[in-house]
Amino acid sequence: MADTILVVVEQQQGKLNRASWETIAAGQTIAAATGWALEAAVVGASIGEVAVEVAGKKLAKVYAIDAVVLGAYTPDAFAVALKQLVEAIQPKLVIMPHTYQVRDFAPKLAASLGRSLISDCIAFRKDDTSGQLLFTRQMFQGKFAADVTFQSEAPWFATFQNGSFRGDHAEDGAAPAPVEAFAVTIADGVVRNKPEAWFKEAKAAVDLTQAEIIVAIGRGIKEEKNIAIAQALADALGGEVAASRPICDNGWLPMDRQVGSSGQTVAPKVYIALGISGAIQHVVGMKGARAIIAINKDAEAPIFEIADYAVVGNLFDIVPPLTEEVKKARAGA
């Protein structure tokens, strides 16, 4: 077992995603704490340029796994290819971004090696006294955090949530890291899924990314007819109405008004969250707002962790008078 950390970066059509740089930054942090060497792997077809781009970071080595069958992502091909790399180089720890793609294959990869994956981590810490590596992850939809340890032999697998580390903190190397081609054998018949090209559903009718003020509703709005209460506030403020996923799942608002990892990413001047608990998949879509006002009846709702202004209370009591006050203020202004 080598004392190394392997970062598996993610690229789509020759472009690295932001989470890849964040995971390299995570790897550099863990390497600094443990003294282990840091290596990276790029997986795909025709990924030579991407591998060179990654090699600009402070890394000991970059493995390029380049094969035609890895061109269109499938869990079978990715798990088999990475299993071969992990078996060959025997890293202690393998880390990846917690993207839709990684969550599709990483549990399979770890299980195929009889090992464990700590998924969706938000932080890492080495305990100075015990020497234990602690991986922090959210539990109960963000209401609690847990420090988790591996209980098996290495290799260990962990994925990090988007935004856990800062991509711009990924250090450049003094000189480019060597890029090494790693050949994999993926036999016919191994890949069972036939994926088609990505597509977007109907074109969005509203561009929330341009809205200066967003009034967002969550399940706390209770009934479809209550959306009018939020709409009135949005109208008074000259803003747009947006929603958490369950509201759009119910068909109460169209999907183009959904904010979060499977919806829009917005960064308005003011984001008013009404009856939204603050699950991470929602928060990633709105935490870039300049100011967040949260109204929620549960004082312990995770949304308050990122709110600038917090109101603990019933939105049905607070929003109507708020709308009236806004109207008065605007009329007077």
Partner: protein, 256 residues
């Protein structure tokens, strides 16, 4: 089509959760409900059965209380249930849970296994994918549509930022289902009555113990996360809060 749906009982969304003395888990005396994506997985299985005939079997692991999710599923139309019943199932990691399920269904022949895409408690998002690996089956995750084809199935995967993708794949397969794939039904009175006579197979820990091993990961400590932001708490009557908010919107945020 013969479909197995893996379902989990989790604390109710609005339930106030408290830490146990040791700070390793929550106090269990809260109200529970079906993990939301699992409810969508069941609904999808029932719809597939209605279209193509077949059988829908539901499975869960957990203490006696978790039988409730199976009862509800039977009332909605599932044909039979399997309950891996033991308090100790709650603490299993995703690998062990998948191993226990694989052992419990070793004499069955399913075409499809559905799970919710992740649970509201642990949030691993792993059990279904690991189960597929253990069974040697194909899998696909975060599914928003399923159609039967001649060679197998065609599924619609949700991807990040509003993208989707169709994937053709063979059966048997494991699919993890995303909330919103369909509209949930309610159990009918007659359904609830019929559920009482539907088969419920109980599986004791001893029956699957040889298939599982020690957990490969461990929660050392569970705690309330630290706040990273300075938050101003606005208090008062609704009228006072409204005035304070308008003051902030106007003078601090320049939004009015």
């Amino acid at each position: 089509m013969k479909i197995l749906v893996c379902m989990k009982q989790v604390p109710q969304k609005d339930a106030p959760l408290k830490l146990n003395e040791a700070g390793t888990w929550i106090r269990e005396e809260v109200s529970y409900e079906v993990n939301e994506p699992d409810a969508y997985a069941l609904e999808e299985a029932l719809r597939q059965k209605e279209k193509h005939t077949g059988e829908v079997v539901v499975i869960t692991s957990g203490p006696a209380r978790s039988q409730q999710v199976l009862r509800e599923a039977l009332a909605k139309g599932a044909d039979r249930a399997i309950h891996l019943e033991d308090d100790a199932f709650v603490g299993l990691d995703a690998f062990n849970t998948a191993k226990a399920f694989a052992a419990a269904i070793k004499d069955e022949q399913f075409d499809l296994i559905f799970t919710g895409l992740q649970s509201d408690d642990y949030g691993f998002a792993q059990t279904g994918v690991i189960l597929a690996e253990l069974l040697g089956w194909a899998h696909a995750t975060i599914i928003m549509q399923i159609e039967k084809t001649e060679a197998g199935i065609r599924v619609k995967r949700e991807l990040e930022a509003g993208y989707f993708q169709y994937v053709d794949m063979p059966t048997p397969a494991v699919l993890t289902i995303q909330s919103g794939i369909n509209k949930l039904r309610y159990a009918t009175l007659i359904g609830i009555k019929n559920a009482k006579n539907k088969p419920m197979r109980k599986v004791a820990m001893a029956e699957v113990a040889s298939a599982i091993g020690p957990n490969l990961q461990k929660i050392e400590r569970l705690y309330v996360p630290q706040k990273s932001k300075q938050t101003q708490l606005l208090e008062g009557s609704p009228g006072e809060i409204a005035k304070k908010l308008v003051d902030k919107l106007r003078n601090e945020l320049r939004a009015i």
